[in-house]
């Protein structure tokens, strides 16, 4: 009990010398790894008295946001949807920059891929994807609904992380998975699946990953937030210019096969970008969808659908890119 109390207090006191950035094992977020690999995070933040920058890995967005709710993260590379359900529940944070759009793929077991003709073929199948509240879950659900299939009753959506899903499809405990790169390509390389759809065809230009900053950082340390955005822009430009090297950095950090990662970058319909404005439209659509899914609860809490200013704070980005 004493340890718990101390632990809770410890986080609220003291000077800021460590920054913790959350991220996920996806090629969507290579920018975070590029900056870490080149030492840019610590270099660029040293002038603000930051001595340590820690990167914390999460299997998917919802657990990452849970950690941010607990105050464990100041910044997060995360899909644009998870922060929304967290903000509805009281997360004090804003999207400050973009990271990428599209870039998730539907992978079917090889024996089922031959007979795939479109969303209709998914009826009655068991599909592993990220948990409710994630981009993947939201995009897939919306796409199924648009095609007349009820995601709650006519398919069996199972929540899991990327490596669980890769194992599951290999062990045939699921029939299909819908995951962000590079896992779909890894599954194909292992002979356990065939990519049949990219998320860009399901929902063109849909927002995917973004950079989130805690409200505290925005209010108390805007200069640090500004620098984080600057470093992020630099890393994003770098990875766009040097995709081969980006793949190598990712493979090194994740212990993945370099050739497979390079393949993944070649086939993925993902589009790296640091501009948050490109994410706004689809993100507001996510806010709508998530509100719908939890209408009873949110209305009971007196909430309304989140608007742009509830989710985004692009002032610092706009200043930097004027």
């Amino acid at each position: 009990m004493a340890v718990m109390v101390l632990g809770c207090l410890d986080r609220r006191a003291g000077e800021l010398t460590t920054i913790t950035i959350g991220y996920q094992p996806s090629t969507h977020q290579i920018a975070a790894l590029v900056a870490a690999e080149q030492g840019w995070w610590e270099e660029d933040l040293a002038q603000f008295g930051i001595t340590k920058v820690v990167l914390k890995e999460f299997p998917s967005g919802p657990p990452e946001m849970h950690a941010m709710l607990a105050g464990e993260l100041q910044f997060a590379y995360v899909g644009a949807a998870p922060p929304i359900s967290a903000i509805y529940e009281g997360l004090d944070a804003k999207i400050i920059a973009g990271v990428q759009t599209q870039g998730s793929a539907l992978v079917l077991r090889p024996e089922l891929a031959d007979s795939y003709t479109g969303p209709e073929s998914l009826r009655g199948l068991r599909i592993g994807t990220f948990p409710p509240g994630s981009i993947q879950h939201t995009v897939l659900s919306r796409w199924l609904l648009d095609n007349g299939i009820d995601p709650n009753t006519e398919v069996d959506l199972k929540a899991m992380g990327p490596s669980d899903a890769a194992t599951a499809i290999g062990a045939r405990t699921v029939d299909a998975v819908f995951l962000p790169s590079p896992t779909p390509t890894i599954i194909v390389a292992e002979g356990n699946g065939v990519i049949v759809e990219w998320s860009g065809t399901m929902w063109p230009d849909h927002a995917c990953c973004c950079l989130v900053a805690s409200g505290k950082m925005l209010r108390d340390h805007p200069e640090i937030v500004s620098q984080i955005i600057t470093t992020h822009i630099r890393a994003t430009d770098y990875e766009i210019a040097h995709p081969e090297e980006a793949a190598e950095i990712y493979a090194k950090w994740m212990g993945a096969n370099v050739a497979t990662i390079k393949d993944s970058l070649a086939v993925s319909d993902m589009h790296w970008t640091h501009d948050p404005h490109l994410l706004v439209d689809s993100t507001l659509a996510y806010a709508d969808i998530i509100f719908d899914l939890n209408r009873a609860r949110y209305e009971g809490m007196g909430l309304t659908v989140l608007g742009e200013t509830d989710i985004f704070d692009t002032r610092l980005y706009d200043e930097l890119t004027r």
Partner: protein, 259 residues
Amino acid sequence: MKLTAVIRENGLSLLPLILVLLLWEVTAGYVVKDPLFLPRFSAVMSAIYTLRNLLVPDLLTSLYHFAIGLTLAFALALPLAIAMGWFRPVFKAVDPIIEIVRPIPPLAWIPLAIVWIGLNDYAAGFIIFIGAFFPILIDSYSGFRDVPRVLVETGMVLGCIGDRKLIRHVALPYALPSIATGTRVGMGVGWMCVVAAEMFGVGDSGLGYRLFQKFYFLHQMDYVIAYMLVLGLLALVLDRMFRYFVEERLFRWKKGIVK
């Protein structure tokens, strides 16, 4: 008149409980004031009401997983316990394996369970089985092993010739209280595994499933605590029911109470 007697009788048990709930409500509502960090007790209570349509199917599913696991555990543990407790060579042969496998936490079996059995109710039942099996086994074989020699020999001189008759008429009745104790402990451990078993999405409902696959990912903390309370209460009910139906009735002789 009767009410004051009831209060006096149970006051010592109930008063601290009520105080804790009050403390929770006040701390959550006026000190912490953050429904994410600590939802109010009243919020949790109304959450139980709000969730009532989900709660009942989830409860039944969890009980179903529990039943699968416990039945399997009992069915496998009892014969093995008889063999291990009665026949020393069997014990010596099997015990090392048991002692190595036993300390492995049920949660650690989840990845295997998913690959072996799949994402279905039986995988969940399997995890609960792992939790319940060892307490039942160990208490039971201890019961069989500890049968006093004088009782065995008495059985023999009264006509129980052979292991089967001795086990049936002497060892089993003697070991029954130990089996009951082991089962009760196994039930406790098994129920604790329900959440672990369900959190990985084996199945589409269940208290653990809902808690981890929905409430957690959507950060709905009042729902989380509501389900935690239900899990705890259900465990209490199961335990009390077992004690009443099995221990009170069957083992009157241990306490020397006569009808």
